[in-house]
Amino acid sequence: MGLFAKITRNELRLFLREPLVAFFSLAFPTILVVILGSIPEFREPSEALGGVTVISLYVGIALALGLAMLGLQFMPTVLASYRERGVLRRVAVTPVRPVTLLGAQLAATLVMALVSGILVLAVGKIAFDVNLPGQPVGFLIAYLLCGAGVFAVGLLVAALAPSGKAGNAIGTLLFFPSMFFAGLWTPREVLPAVLQRIGDFTPLGAGERALHDAAVGQWPALLPLAVLLAYVVVFGAAAARLFRWE
């Protein structure tokens, strides 16, 4: 096993040792789908939603939820606490560069998100007959781009937060409005037009829109993909510039 894989495995192991993190990132999105899927009306095609079922929408929203919890709350907390506790400094005096540890943490976060997402899709398909994405390649691109956008925002939080606790607090503050625009409380598709428009420019609103497009078999629209790419570039560059190693 290569060094990067070893460090990533170690980061994954540490993720799984936090019961709250493991539960909310791996199981909670699926539990949300199971709860909503148990409501009979949510399994019927809805005219207000253009003929799709509510539960099929929530499969996409649950994927965004997994990315948001991991990318906005858990990953920044871990990285900020690594700085606070001197873990980054400890690594800086070894042949491994601290940026490698940061990369491994991102990789571990992505693995957690993928496992959580596959679980959501599988349960949606098996338990509630939600079709798998009609445009799988577009769906994967939308998912990875949404993940990258959210992680870039999370990295900027980690770059600026002075401690693990502060990182978690800032992440949580961003989490709620982000998930509102992704449609966690009311699906984006039934939000008033002006809120939809605002949501199009948030990472999770754009992400959910792109995921929804691909789920129903279309290529994701250009706007959400461009918005996500902008988040990756702008927030990623800001995080790279501002990240403090100690």
Partner: protein, 303 residues
């Protein structure tokens, strides 16, 4: 052979000068101590040597390379004062992972046994005692089989027993042929372990030499305490070449100096018909030496 050379090092943080002028060399195979009170600039100095900070002025070479040379990360093992690990990492995982960082690591199992961590491999970092965390930290500093080990405030916070065990460990490290740069604020630790010591205070080297030489220099100092039968001016005492300092404690006088201090002071007093009542003569001890060198009160824990 010189393995570390520091000359005229300076480092400021904003308006505060942490290191004003520090120079020393470390020879291969020795234990070199940097001794001084808290805030003297010791940690900043070794952080510059370890490549973690960039000096404002002065030069440092480590194994003939600049301290930031990436090759040195393999050749120099560092134990940091505040280098922690994730709370839920076990001792085994930390040792395994860090040994994977190096191209030719030491055998981590043997290292763990040697450092008394053999039965703690499954224990998480957060559950280790202070002494065990320190030993793990030493193990991680040695895991790359380094040629130089930099150890910062190794025994701070340890109980006396654990401190003595750690000293044995350091001597073991030297016996393996590793050069050790040791930072401490314990005079006793420096005296016991170090071949040579640089005493740093307020960012400057105030003394440099073998422990025996430093102590000999200070131990030559004596102090007299007495109650004069008649008042006497400080200036008269200070005019004697042997006297370096006069302090008043109510009716009592304390005179500090070197050489034939007792004889010259008594002669001066006798010439003026003054009797020195309750006369006490004291030689400076190690704590005294340290205070004299650094001009500061020791911390309570150092007593």
């Amino acid at each position: 052979m010189t393995v570390i050379e520091v000359s005229n090092l300076q480092k400021r943080y904003g308006d505060t000068a942490a290191v004003r002028d520090v120079s020393f060399t470390v020879e291969r195979g020795e234990i070199f101590g940097i001794l001084g009170p808290n805030g003297a600039g010791k940690t900043t100095t070794v952080e510059c040597v370890a490549g973690l900070r960039t000096p404002d002025a002065g030069t440092i070479t480590v194994l003939d390379r600049p301290p930031r040379d990436h090759e040195l990360r393999r050749l120099v093992g560092v134990q940091l004062q505040e280098g922690q690990l994730p709370e839920k990492t076990t001792v085994r995982e930390a040792l395994e992972l860090f040994s994977a960082f190096y191209p030719e690591p030491a055998d981590w199992r043997a290292l763990a046994r040697e450092l008394g961590l053999g039965d703690k491999l499954g224990t998480r970092f957060a559950k280790l005692s202070g002494g065990q965390k320190q030993r793990l930290s030493i193990a991680l500093a040695l895991i790359g089989d380094p040629r130089i080990a930099i150890l910062d405030e190794l025994t701070t916070g340890l109980d006396p027993h654990a401190r003595r065990d750690t000293w044995d460990l350091i001597e073991g490290i030297r016996a393996r042929g590793v050069t050790v740069l040791l930072v401490t604020h314990f005079m006793e630790e420096a005296e016991r372990l170090c071949d040579r010591i640089a005493v740093i205070d307020s960012g400057r080297v105030v003394a440099l030499g073998t422990p025996a030489a430093l102590i000999a220099e200070i131990a030559a100092e004596q102090r007299l305490r007495f109650r004069p039968s008649e008042p006497i001016e400080d200036a008269l005492l200070l005019a004697l070449p042997e006297v370096t300092e006069v302090r008043r404690h109510g009716p009592r006088i304390e005179v500090v100096g070197k050489g034939e201090l007792l004889h010259t002071v008594i002669a001066l007093l006798a010439g003026r018909g003054i009797i020195a009542a309750d006369l006490r003569v004291e030689q400076a001890d190690l704590d005294e030496a340290y205070i004299r060198l650094t001009n500061r009160e020791p911390l309570a824990e150092e007593r």
